[in-house]
């Protein structure tokens, strides 16, 4: 069964300001879907609808055939996890305590994290070679470390769908490289991943199913090869650009013509 199905989804803040309309997309387990679009077009709004933070004006979002509005907060949190664009926190809690919050969907209302939850968190820290950060305050980590810990926290929710909102935005190129590798690694573990980016090169590097979200509020879906063309990108971003094929990498790269 398809993991995520979005049918005719529309969202407006008020009657006169529609952010997007008639959005359709589907995602299987282990698939990666990249939503590409300029800043401010509504990518984050779409993601917030997908994880239940916003209620769409029209349309339906289903997980394994069930409408997400039928889920409780806890049930949804076991299926979908989101790493928001801004994960800055106003607290000095330790990395371990921060990670343990990711186990909340598996705890009853008044339950504290158990020994098993600690062990699971430790396992992930070991897998990612981050054991030394365990007792450090989350706020004292670098941006890249914070993001990685935020992703691990989401993985502790054992989601079937992981949503990443502009994960590359604040990273330098070496961190971007690490993140791209991580995304591919997670997809191999059958986690469906949906991410947004405003840079065409990220989409070209990932080479996944793509959705182009335009300023008119429509989402055009397809494969990277079909959708990422010079004409479509120029229409999306309203600036002159060029696509150059790199034979050694078997993909295109995008340049702004200035």
């Amino acid at each position: 069964m398809t993991l995520l199905t979005v049918t005719n989804l529309s969202f407006s803040y008020h009657k006169s300001s529609t952010v997007f309309h008639d959005v359709n997309l589907s995602l299987e387990a282990g698939e990666v879907f990249t939503i590409l679009g300029p800043n401010g077009v509504g990518k984050s709004t779409l993601l917030q609808c997908l994880c239940g933070l916003l209620t769409p004006t029209k349309g339906e979002i289903s997980l394994n055939g069930q409408n997400i509005s039928d889920f409780t907060h806890r049930q949804l949190a076991r299926q979908v996890a989101i790493v928001p664009q801004n994960y800055h926190i106003n607290s000095g809690i330790t990395v371990m305590d921060y990670l343990l919050t990711g186990r909340t969907p598996y705890l009853s209302l008044l339950q504290m994290p158990t020994k098993k939850d600690h062990e699971i968190a430790e396992q992930y820290l070991t897998e990612f070679n981050l054991n030394t950060l365990k007792n450090r305050s989350f706020s004292s980590l670098s941006g890249g470390q914070q993001q990685l810990i935020a992703i691990i926290k989401s993985l502790l929710q054992e989601p079937k769908l992981l949503i990443l909102d502009e994960p590359m935005a604040a990273l330098d190129i070496s961190r971007q490289y690490e993140l791209l590798k991580l995304i591919k690694r997670l997809a191999n573990k059958h986690i469906a991943i949906l991410l947004t980016t405003h840079l065409p090169d990220h989409a070209l590097m990932l080479n996944t199913k793509i959705g182009l979200l335009s300023t008119s509020g429509t989402l055009t879906t397809g494969s990277t090869d079909d959708l990422i063309t010079k004409e479509r990108l120029e229409e999306l971003y309203k600036i002159p650009l060029n696509l150059t094929y790199l034979p050694e990498l078997h993909r295109y790269t995008c340049q702004i013509l200035i």
Binding site: G52, H73, R78, I89, T94, D97, L110, Q157
Partner: protein
């Protein structure tokens, strides 16, 4: 304990339990009882009820304005507190300056002199309910302090739990204020001392804040009765001690406030 809870729920370390109007509301209740010539028992009862009414008004106003997030609750609290302050001003204005005005002013400055076993027994159920709820939810307070969206996407019913915690904290605060009058700075500073001692996880800071707060007040009350022939009102001492102590904490911890 209420201070810890409020600082988590409102994601702001400068918040104190008075922020939603409970203290000024209680002062209006006490002043009304004093003006009506009712005894100490009624003063405590009116203070308790009016404290609860003030916070209920704050929450109702915030609900009517119907915006997401905690800022609107804080703004409504400022408005209600301001209104209550004006009411107190009016009550002081019409009070008999020879007797009633003094009583109102002294009530507002705070004292444990009139607290006896029967009044403690009377408020004990409220204290117990408020404290037990906050202790049970202390781990969720840590989660809520990480941000409302974050908390919701990991399975917390944020609106419900926030209301419950505000209710429990208000019950706790109203029950103590109705006995002792306004004792400032305790709700703001003690959570910070607690964090200095045991870190930022409310799982630990909340119960410690309860103990440290009680100890602090015992010390201040002893000082109040020993430093001069009469009993110095507690707010005066907590202000003189609390304000410099808070600056010391801010410098020492380089507390991240925003």
């Amino acid at each position: 304990m209420s201070g810890c809870a409020f600082q988590s729920v409102f994601h702001n370390l400068l918040v104190s339990p008075d922020i939603l109007g409970v203290s000024y509301g209680a002062a209006v209740g006490a002043a009304s009882a004093i003006l009506l010539g009712l005894g100490i028992w009624f003063t405590q009862l009116f203070a308790f009820i009016c404290g609860i009414i003030a916070v209920s008004a704050t929450l109702l106003i915030a609900r009517i304005i119907h915006q997401r997030g905690t800022l609107i609750i804080v703004l409504a609290g400022i408005v209600v507190s301001g209104f209550m302050q004006a009411l107190i001003g009016l009550l002081k204005y019409i009070a008999d300056p020879d007797s009633q005005l003094q009583s109102i002013v002294y009530w507002q400055l705070g004292s444990l002199a009139k607290v006896d076993i029967s009044s403690i027994i009377a408020v004990f159920p409220m204290l117990a309910i408020g404290a037990v709820i906050l202790i049970f939810f202390r781990w969720h307070l840590t989660i809520l302090s990480l941000g409302d969206q974050n908390a919701q996407t990991i399975g917390i019913n944020v609106a419900f739990e926030r209301l419950l915690i505000i209710g429990a904290s208000t019950l706790l605060t109203a029950a103590t204020v109705c006995l002792s009058g306004n004792i400032g700075w305790v709700g703001l500073v003690i959570p910070h001392i607690s964090r200095l001692l045991v870190g930022d996880n409310t799982r630990r800071t909340l119960p410690i804040a309860g103990l440290v707060g009680a100890l602090f007040l015992l010390i201040v009350d002893t000082l109040a009765r020993s430093l001069s022939a009469g009993e110095i009102p507690l707010s005066i001492l907590t202000g003189f001690i609390g304000a410099p102590l808070f600056i010391y904490i801010l410098i020492k911890k380089k507390v991240r406030l925003n």
